[in-house]
Each structure stands twice: as structure tokens, then as C-alpha cells.
């Protein structure tokens, strides 16, 4: 399993992702600079979190123009697996590889805290096999994490099983209007989505930061689980 981790100027979660795939799951994980167009026969491409291009204009807007993104688009079009975490999710939305966009958090604050996210019934390379309704506890760290799509797009996504994770309480209860649970105000409490084919997944939370007990995995399901699914471990 070869995992390409794309690095843009301002990316800062690349080493966490390389550690999870290369260190913990023993995949062949390697960085790819955003000016390169060769994905080096990757089986999975990850756009990690950070602040690509300093979040200029809109989060993820300038990163979508980087040369590597044409290769990522071609790769995804051929069914290749693409995962975007946090800023990576924002880049996938801006690129049109995923529907919708991430707006500023409803409470106008940068949110850096642990959240619970509930696995939704969805057919994709990141959570298929994890029982739906399972709750994963992991950190978020974002100012623009408020998922938005117009009502028609949202209803299509719900119908197609494109919602991968929702913000919930520790027991798995979802309440979109309760901003103590749906902390950034996302439409339908959406924390992560996939495309129709299930080969492109994006999420705002950082399960890679809760993949080991050393860094705060505190019971329930570990953040490592979806990464295990992704590499077939």
C-alpha cells in the first residue's frame, strides 16, 4: 500500500499523517510536494491539514490551483482513493471533488477541542466495515469548519449515503441545532462526507491526532480505526 501525502506551503499535519500510515500501519507513506505532478504510483492520496497559502482568499482556494491537484483530480476520476483532513477537506470542496464548502464557525471562534463524531451508514474506503453509530473521539482545530451545501445538494447527499461522520455527543446523539454538540454549526451536523463513488472522503476532525493513547485517545473507538480501513489492515 503506497500512500502519497501532499504538502502545500502552510500544510502542518503532514508528519502526523505520515506517522499514522508509515509508522503505525506500516504502509509505504511518502510526502509529495505540491509543485510535483507525479503521485508515484500511490494507492491512496492524502491532503493533510494546515493553512495552505495562509488561507488567503478562501480556505483551500489557492491550493486547488497547485500543479499536483490536476494529478489528484485525474487520480480520483480513475477511482483512486483520496482523503482530505481539515484543510485537505476544504481543498477537496474548493476543487469540486466534493460538494459544498466550509464556512466560518457559527460561534465566530477558532475551535480547538475534542469532539465526538458518529460513523454514519456510508459506502466509502474510510469507514466501510466500521459499524454505523460507532462514536470516535478526536480533536478538531479550525476556524472554517461549518459545512454548508444548498438544500437540494444536502438532500441528494443524504439519499446517496454521502454523509460519513456527524458531530454527536459521547453516546452518539446528534442534534444539529445544539451548538454544544454540533460545535461549528454545520448543516445536518456534518463532520465528514464522501463523493457518490465513495473514493473521495473529506472530514474536518483529526482522527490522526487520536490514533495513539500517547496523544489523547481516551477510550471508545480509536481515531486509528478509519485509517486501518483505508489500508485494509
Amino acid at each position: 500500500m503506497r500512500v502519497a501525502v501532499v504538502v502545500f506551503p502552510g500544510t502542518n499535519c503532514d508528519h502526523d499523517v505520515l506517522h499514522v500510515f508509515g509508522g503505525l500501519l506500516k504502509a509505504e507513506a511518502f510526502p509529495v510536494w505540491h509543485r510535483d505532478t507525479d503521485l508515484q504510483n500511490a494507492d491512496l492520496v492524502v491532503l493533510p491539514g494546515g493553512f495552505s497559502y495562509g488561507d488567503y482568499l478562501r480556505t483551500g482556494a489557492l491550493a486547488k490551483l497547485s500543479p499536483v491537484m490536476q494529478s489528484v483530480k485525474d487520480f480520483a476520476a480513475q477511482g483512486g482513493r483520496v482523503l482530505g483532513i481539515c484543510n485537505g477537506f476544504q481543498i477537496l470542496c474548493e476543487s469540486g471533488l466534493l460538494p459544498g464548502v466550509l464556512l466560518e464557525n457559527v460561534g465566530r471562534r477558532f475551535l480547538s477541542q475534542f469532539v465526538s463524531i458518529k460513523v454514519e451508514p456510508s459506502n466509502n474506503f474510510f469507514t466501510s466495515g466500521i459499524p454505523a453509530a460507532k462514536v470516535i473521539t478526536c480533536p478538531i482545530a479550525h476556524f472554517q469548519g461549518n459545512y454548508y451545501a444548498d438544500p437540494a445538494t444536502l438532500s441528494d447527499m443524504e439519499k446517496n449515503g454521502q454523509v460519513v461522520f456527524r458531530y454527536s455527543d459521547a453516546s452518539g446523539r446528534v442534534a444539529a441545532d445544539d451548538h454544544s454538540i454540533n460545535v461549528n454549526g454545520s448543516c445536518n451536523a456534518i463532520a465528514g462526507i464522501c463523493n457518490k463513488a465513495g473514493n473521495v472522503v473529506g472530514l474536518m476532525p483529526h482522527p490522526e491526532r487520536a490514533a495513539e493513547s500517547l496523544v489523547g485517545y481516551v477510550g471508545g473507538a480509536s481515531g486509528l480505526e478509519p485509517f486501518k480501513v483505508a489500508v485494509g489492515a
Partner: protein, 80 residues
């Protein structure tokens, strides 16, 4: 040729900056202001293209980068 692109959030899309401004003004007893919406002005100078082509390319880059059609609308103005 010089152009101004005005980018605005579409009606109904939450504008947290506008909300923050409204709250700040209220704190200073300016209580009459409602629905404050924050947009962005982008100025571009175009060289070496005729007017028709210039306008077409400004429109193209609006769609490509300057505005996100999911949440924003834009307006192009030619300025002297």
C-alpha cells in the same frame, strides 16, 4: 484596462463577520443596523488584451478562483 470584482456572499449564507460587526456596533449604541454583509473588492489591471477578451478572462478567473459559486456571487465593473 482596470476592473473591479465585487464578491458577495449569496443571500441566506451565514456571514459571521457581518454578525460580529453588528454586535460591535450595538455595543456602541448603534442599534439601527441590521443584516450587515461583508464582501470583498478585488482590483485587476489587464494588459495586452482587447476589451472583449479582457472582460471574458476576468469572468473566467472569477469562476475559477475569485468567487466560489456555492456561496458567493460576483459582479464585474470596469473602472477608468
Amino acid at each position: 484596462m482596470r476592473y473591479q470584482v465585487l464578491v458577495r456572499l449569496k443571500t441566506g449564507v451565514l456571514d459571521v463577520q457581518g454578525k460580529a460587526i453588528e454586535t460591535g456596533l450595538k455595543d456602541k449604541k448603534f442599534e439601527a443596523f441590521r443584516n450587515i454583509r461583508v464582501g470583498r473588492v478585488i482590483e485587476l489591471e489587464v494588459e495586452g488584451l482587447d476589451k472583449e477578451k479582457a472582460k471574458a478572462q476576468v469572468d473566467e478567473v472569477c469562476k475559477l478562483l475569485l468567487a466560489n459559486p456555492v456561496i458567493e456571487q460576483y459582479e464585474i465593473r470596469e473602472v477608468a
